[in-house]
């Protein structure tokens, strides 16, 4: 008992001394004057930092060119030319081949709850699509052979990955390969070297460019895709391929995340077409902050920047806050291809039965 009392007294003394030291330390801590605060502001990471892109992200060295924004502001832009493929990795896998295949064979898709991580496209997921979407017409596999129907040729990729999915390609897991792209396929991005805040936010056409050089794309037209009884499979990084955009992301799952500061802020994912950075949704503690209507925020280190939404939300950012420059190959509106656009009459197919083969 005496020993315990002594320990307690000792602890109390230590705590008191420590508190005094800390308080003294706080009092003596140098206070930042105005010039120091301004110096801090001068370090704001304004605009795109080429050095943060992965090796191989570009097929030509980035250059600075004169450009004019859609708001007719004359400025300079980075001209970034990419191959349409993510640097330093092979895209895929996308569609599983057999109903017994596990998560390692297939890719991922939006969780229908629209929150959190993507869900794995396993053989079991394909078998249970009818239950998952509460629609008995789903049948992406042959029950006799247990083989999963997927677009295994360039022709089927082109037939399925387009606005009005050809009848024979409905009821397919869609996957396209980089080899289906034209030999001279490339993407060019023109991004202001110094972001210019726009008077009014613009709608998202292209979300931006990821740090591996692949496109960050707008929302996938999920209702049109599902309405054709197709799954436009992503790989585990949240991207897929079409012949118009190459490999592009519809969600961010951490594959291009790059920690740029040691302040616990969310890692950088890529850049928006206005030059502002796009960061992951959560900070190092897993917290998400309140954002503006474009999913943007401002702090003294990064200046204005965006935060990506969660992988299954089918959007990366909500709108574009800065002025942008239309690149020659930029798509207006939701991209065609593997994303599929709504059928021209805007309605899902009437007969969703599987092909007879």
């Amino acid at each position: 008992m005496q020993l315990l009392n002594r320990i307690n007294k000792g602890l109390l003394l230590c705590t008191s001394v420590l508190t005094l030291v800390v308080l003294q330390g706080c009092e003596n801590a140098p206070k930042l004057d105005d010039s120091q605060l301004n110096a801090g502001k001068a370090n704001i990471q304004a605009g795109l930092d080429i050095s943060l892109f992965k090796d191989g992200a570009f097929i030509l060295p980035p250059k600075i060119v004169d450009c004019e924004t859609t708001a007719r502001t004359k400025t300079t832009c980075y001209e970034l030319k990419t191959s349409g493929a993510p640097a330093m990795r092979e895209p895929g896998p996308f569609c599983p081949r057999n109903t017994s295949d596990g998560a390692d064979v297939g890719g991922a898709w939006f969780d229908k709850s629209g929150s959190g991580d993507l869900i794995d496209i396993t053989g079991e997921f394909i078998v249970n699509l009818s239950r998952y979407y509460d629609d008995p017409n789903w049948m992406l596999y042959d029950p006799k052979t247990n083989k999963i129907r997927y677009t295994d040729t360039k022709a089927s990729c082109l037939g399925a990955a387009k606005p009005d999915v050809e009848e024979q390609y409905k009821q397919n897991c869609i996957e396209c390969l980089m080899s289906y792209l034209d030999d001279d396929f490339s993407r060019t991005y023109l991004i202001p070297t110094t972001p210019i805040k726009a008077e009014e936010a613009q709608r998202v056409r292209t979300v931006g460019i990821a740090l591996d050089g692949a496109e960050l794309s707008g929302s996938a037209p999920v209702d049109a895709i599902l309405g054709s009884y197709t799954i436009a499979a992503f790989d585990d990084c949240g991207g897929h391929i079409n012949v118009h955009q190459g490999y592009h992301y519809h969600s961010t799952t951490g594959c291009t995340d790059t920690v740029t500061t040691d302040d616990g802020h969310a890692p950088l994912v890529g850049y928006a077409p206005d030059g502002y950075g796009i960061y992951a949704m959560e900070d190092a503690l897993g917290k998400e902050e309140s954002l503006d209507e474009c999913r943007g925020s401002t702090d003294e280190v990064r200046g204005y920047h965006y935060h990506a939404a969660s992988p299954s939300e089918n959007m990366i950012i909500g709108c574009i806050s800065g002025e942008t420059v239309r690149s020659a190959d930029e798509h207006a509106g939701p991209p065609p291809g593997a994303d599929g656009r709504p059928p021209r009459d805007g309605r899902p197919p009437k007969a969703g039965k599987p092909p007879r083969d």
Partner: protein
Amino acid sequence: MLIKSRPFNIVYVAVASMFLMQTINTANAHSSSLNKIALEVCKQKERSQACQYNGGHNDLYIGTCQYISEHDLTCVRNQPIQKVESDKHSHNIEANQKKQDSQKDNKANKSK
């Protein structure tokens, strides 16, 4: 007959009703894809107007309507996902909606 007494009957019915209500609530959130719901809540709204919807698993998504294409608006979440107790859920949505709409109105009036 296992259920004989009246108080027990009332409790049984109440519990069953609560379970049913919760099931219906969840079914609503799951009966169509989230994108449809996000589009639906912005159908009668204009750009930048407040919106919110149940994202499933009692997740409340709060944001504003933004153009997803030339003509279609969708609800873009800009607040951290909130977990809502299912029985309080519809009340909270209504209250939040009113609060956000009145804030918007106040802003609009001030700018005038």
